[in-house]
Structure formats: C-alpha cells, structure tokens
Subunit: 341 residues, 2 copies
DNA sequence: CTGAAAGCGCTTACAG
DNA sequence: CTGAAAGCGCTTACAG
C-alpha cells in the first residue's frame, strides 16, 4: 500500500504532526528530527496525499477554466497564457470546453463547484447566466470572465474592445466604396456577437447605408457557419454583397474555404474583413484586413486579476469589481477592393 | 457557511448516511425520505464536497494530461479528443505543458501524483524517463503514452508510425532527383525525433546518397528552430540543399517564414516536405508534400485504452501492455520541384 | 521543539 | 429501509 504520513511518522519515530511540519515547512522543527523525517520519506517513497490536504485546508490549488472550444486558436492562447501565469503560483488548470452549449456549461459549472476549485476563469455562452454563477460568488470563490461578459451578475471581466473596433472595420469598407456589406455572426445572446453586430450597424447607419436583412447571417462562431453562410452569400442572385464582415477567426476560415471552393477571388470578386486573425496568417493569401486581438494579454490579465483575488481573500481590501476592456489593433491587409478606383 | 451533508441531514431529519445514499443513488431509500432529503438539498442549495468524496473513495475522477505544448495544434487536437472521450465517463482533465523541459516535466509528474489523478496521458520529453513513472505504476495508476514512446518502462502507448513514413517522404524527394536533402529535427532523445531521423537516413542510405553533416540540423520541435535552421540552410554558400525535410508542423512553419523573409520560392528555389501538416493548410500556398497525422485518432485511442484500464482495475483480466502504432497518410503536394525535368 | 487530539466532509460496511 | 460508527490522510491550534 501507498505509505501515509503515519507510516513516515512511525519509521522516523516522531508524530504525524512533526512530519507534517517538516513537509509543509511551517512551525519549528529541530535539524536532527527534520533529517530523520526526510530520510524516512525518502526510504518509503512517500508522496503526500494532496486530496487530504485540500480537504483539510479547504484549498485545492486548482483553477477551473471553461471556454467554448479549446481547439479554437484564440482560446488555446488564452488558456496557455493563463497556465503560464498561474503555474508559478502552484495552481493547476482544470479545463472544460462547452461548445457554447448551455447545458454542458451548467454541468461543468456544477462539477467544478463540487470539485471546490479555488477560482474560475470563464467565457460564458450567453449574456444572462441566471443563477449559474451565484454559488461561486456566495462561496467567495473568485470568478473572472474572459473574452465575453454577462449582464446579470457583477463580476471581474477581461474582454477586448468590440463595438468600436467593428465600427472601424466596417467603416474601412465603406471608405473603399462598399455599401452592400454582409455580416456573418454568431448568436445574438453572446456579448462579443452583440458588440460586433452593433459596430456594424452603427457604421452602416452613420454612413446612411440601409441594412438589408439578407445580409445579416447568424450561426455560430465556427468554421461551418462561415462556410455555409459564405456559400449562401456568394451565390445570392441579384444583390450579391461586395464585402463580408466575418465576426471571428473560425467564421473567416469557413468563408475563405467557401470562396476557394467556388473559385471566388478575394478581393477581386468579394472583399473580406474580420474580427480576429487566422493562425499562420503570414502564410495565407491575401492578408485579411482585420481587427487583431491579443489572447495572450487577455489570458495573462485574467490570471493576474484572479491571483490578486486569491491572495486577498481574507483581507478587508476587497477591491470592487474590475471590468477591463483591452484595446485591439487594426491591420490593413489586401483583402478589400477599392470600389472608388 | 457552505452547507454540509450534516446540515442537510438535520434539516431533513435523517442521518448523514441516508443523505449520502440518496445523493449517490446506491442502497435502499424509501420514496418518502428520498423526497424529504431532496427538498432539504434544494432549500439549502447543498453542493456536495467532491474533495471529501475523493478522499474517501480514493478516486478523483481526474485524468492528468501532460504534453510538451498545449499551443501546438497537434496537441490541441489530441487534448480535445481526449476531453471529448473521457468527459462522457465523468472525468475531468488536469492539463500541463512541459515545453519539453525535463525539470518542469518532473515537477508536473510529482504534482499530479500528489493530486491522486486516476490516470495519466503523457507525451514524454525523452526516451528514458528513469523512475519518473514508477510511482504511478506502483500505485496501479494507469498511464498511456501518446505521440512519443519510452524505452525503460513497459507502458501502454499510442503513437503514429514514424520511421517508415519518413522514409517514404524522403524517398519521394529522391525520386524527384533530389540528393542534397537537409533535415531539421528536434532532440536525438525524443522518440519521434529519432524515428524520423532514422527514416531519413535509411532512405538516403538505400539510395546511395551520402549524408552531409551540415545538412543535419537539430533544435527543438518549434517554430524558432525551423526559422533559424531555415535561414542557415538557405544561406549556405557552396552546397545549398535542394530540399529540406521538416520533422514537425512547427518546424515547417518556421522554415516557411524564413523562406518568405529571404524571398526564397517554394518549390522553385527549394523543395520542402514535412512530417505533420500545418493548420489551415487549405489556404496556404504551396500545399506541402507531407505525412498527414491524425491527432484526433491518437487522442481518442489513448483515452479508450485508459478508460479500459480504469474500468478493470480490480478484475484479474489485467491485459498486457498495449503498444498501438497508428498509420499515417502521405499527401503529395506542390512543394517539391522535379529535378529530373 | 514536539505530540495528542480534533476535525475537514464525505462513504461504507455493519447492525438492527 | 435507516442510523451509528469508523475512517479516508492530512493540518492545526493547543499544551507541554
């Protein structure tokens, strides 16, 4: 059987308390006993039981991370930078992908609650979560939202600017003479989706361009949506759009696949802009005019906010809720045709 | 304070044992008491403590996953498919990236051992791990190696065929008249690195082509290595290679970036083949002649092997160690110039 | 500097 | 069908 602290204690002829003190490094222990204990630990190949420790200490050194899709390069980088940050403070990551499925999301939240994670970093699937987060907040377990926000609970949030960035992106199309501008977006109840939509609509409105319903396509933030909506838009009979706004990297990818399949050239036949860039974009032609996001910064910032909370649980300096909106960058590519030429 | 099973018991006027029986669903409980208990659970917003349960049951429902780099698309997909598989059986993933750093790797192994994971899926950073895995095997915690194998311990393994695939890849270059073929590889103590090297050397040997030392570049399985070695090879004075074999996707990416920067055209100026494909390769020109891997299959298979072990811990049908080698595919692209024309 | 005792919150045979 | 008791393996005041 796996040796326990008791076994170590017996072999070193001390009490379990002393072994614990040696191993945790808190409290006084004489050099001699310390040596004895360490020797016994070594001889037995003792490995302390973290589960027991967690139960006793009511701390698991675990941070839950819930994202829509760990295979999306954006979240990959968010997660990786979170890991880099928190592993220095001895936390591990429990990782979950919801596929933006509300019921999976609820299940994961319940499981992570049962597992008594110390903190949660979460990209919620919808703007109104109802009471799903309440148990965490009630139990004083810090939660940091990333990439997406919610409206019905006050909670730390780290997102990237969405509406103004989208406005600017669409404006850049309008400046090139585009009016028939379509948007391929995700659900109208995801915060990023809403903001990007709003930027689009405001840019159109400000330019006095009417928005045609058939130019507004809603699906999910995935490649399939981009592909299907792309095919639909590309094959529109009368009023094919001259430009399309892809609201995330996966949708952009799907659109480009559809264009490639239908032999539609970018930007000659249709212009493309996107929120978020493709991985390996240096090798992809044409370079898409896009809002550049900074997933590493999002992850790092979220981790820092969370760690700050984790370190001040007792202290009365309970800072108020932080809502951090990180700036994006605009990259001008070669995916937009100038219709004014 | 967070309610415990005792609080629920008191409110429902039953014993904690009974509450436990209701919640776990094992053992007999009358319909009436069951209802009482569930009502109390609901009213108190009771959420059972998984840590306590884990301690008692000596099961954590946790699977540790250690990979070199969670941001490499290959491992992203391995991890994602593992998650898909094991989440159905109520396991969660504790995720760690080692950066192929032996000391980080050891630390993670120790931490996961302390955390009493139920099983481990692991892509080891070197062929000989010494005793690092021993504690797991001694404690009867199943381990499945993915992508890479080790020599000093018998353990379940799921890898993709490496030597023969590489042989074929290099052979395809030779058939096109190439002789000055370089290889950019990772460390000579990583199994995949070794196999791919062996395939290369055997193909050269069988064709009677001498191997020039300056054509063998070793670094890491990352983009930087591809980039640096690419620059070095591209700028070789006398005997610039006519073709380069990239031993993984990241190295290929680095090579292509270097080529792009130096305005070296593929395949006109230099030919390229690779083990493993780039993400988004449909959009990247030229299509690289490559060995196609199947990370989803690797992840799924590894998860299945692990789950099988997990379900037969007690039973005496302790299957012997499995070593699964999955087949790869060969894709002929347009990145190789035919020197025989 | 060290040990005895209590307790973290569950589960699980064992009686009844 | 239900409850009392023991115990999982630690940590942590509290005495001494």
């Amino acid at each position: 059987m796996k040796p326990t602290i008791k076994d170590v204690a017996e072999r070193a002829k001390v009490s379990p308390s002393t072994v614990s003190r040696v191993l945790t490094g808190v409290g006084y222990v004489s050099a001699a006993t310390k040596e004895k204990v360490l020797k016994a630990v070594d001889e037995l190949g003792y490995n302390p039981n973290g589960v027991a420790r967690s139960l006793k200490r009511a701390k698991t050194q675990t941070i839950g991370v819930i994202v829509p899709d760990i295979s999306n390069p954006y979240f990959v980088r968010v997660v990786r930078s979170i890991e880099n940050c928190v592993s220095k403070s001895d936390y591990n990551l429990l990782l979950c992908s919801t596929d933006d499925n509300a019921s999976k999301e609820e299940t994961f939240l319940r499981i992570l609650r049962e597992r008594r994670i110390d903190g949660l970093i979460f990209a919620p699937s919808r703007l109104e979560l109802g009471s799903a987060l309440k148990p965490f907040l009630d139990a004083n377990i810090p939660v940091v939202l990333v990439d997406r926000t919610i409206t019905d609970v006050e909670v730390d949030t780290v997102v990237e600017e969405g509406e103004q960035s989208s406005y600017r992106l669409v404006q850049s199309l309008i400046e090139m003479g585009h009016e028939r501008i379509a948007i391929v977006n995700s659900k109208p109840y995801i915060s990023t989706s809403i903001e990007r939509q709003r930027g689009y609509e405001r840019a159109m409105l400000d330019a006095g361009i009417p928005i045609r319903p058939q130019y507004i396509q809603h699906g999910r933030f995935d490649q399939e949506t981009g592909y299907l909506c792309g095919k639909r838009l590309f094959t529109l009979k009368d009023d094919r759009p001259t430009a399309i706004f892809a609201t995330n990297n996966s949708i952009l990818y799907g659109l480009m696949l559809a264009a490639r399949e239908l032999l539609i050239r970018i930007p000659e036949d249709i212009s493309l802009v996107s929120f978020g860039d493709l991985e390996y974009s240096e090798l992809i032609f044409p370079r898409v005019t896009a809002i550049l996001q900074h997933p590493d910064r999002v992850g790092t910032t979220a981790a820092e906010v969370l760690l700050a909370r984790l370190n001040h649980t007792h202290v009365e300096e309970v800072q108020k809720t932080r809502r951090i909106v990180l700036p994006t960058d605009f990259r001008c590519g070669t995916s937009v045709r100038n219709l004014r030429d």
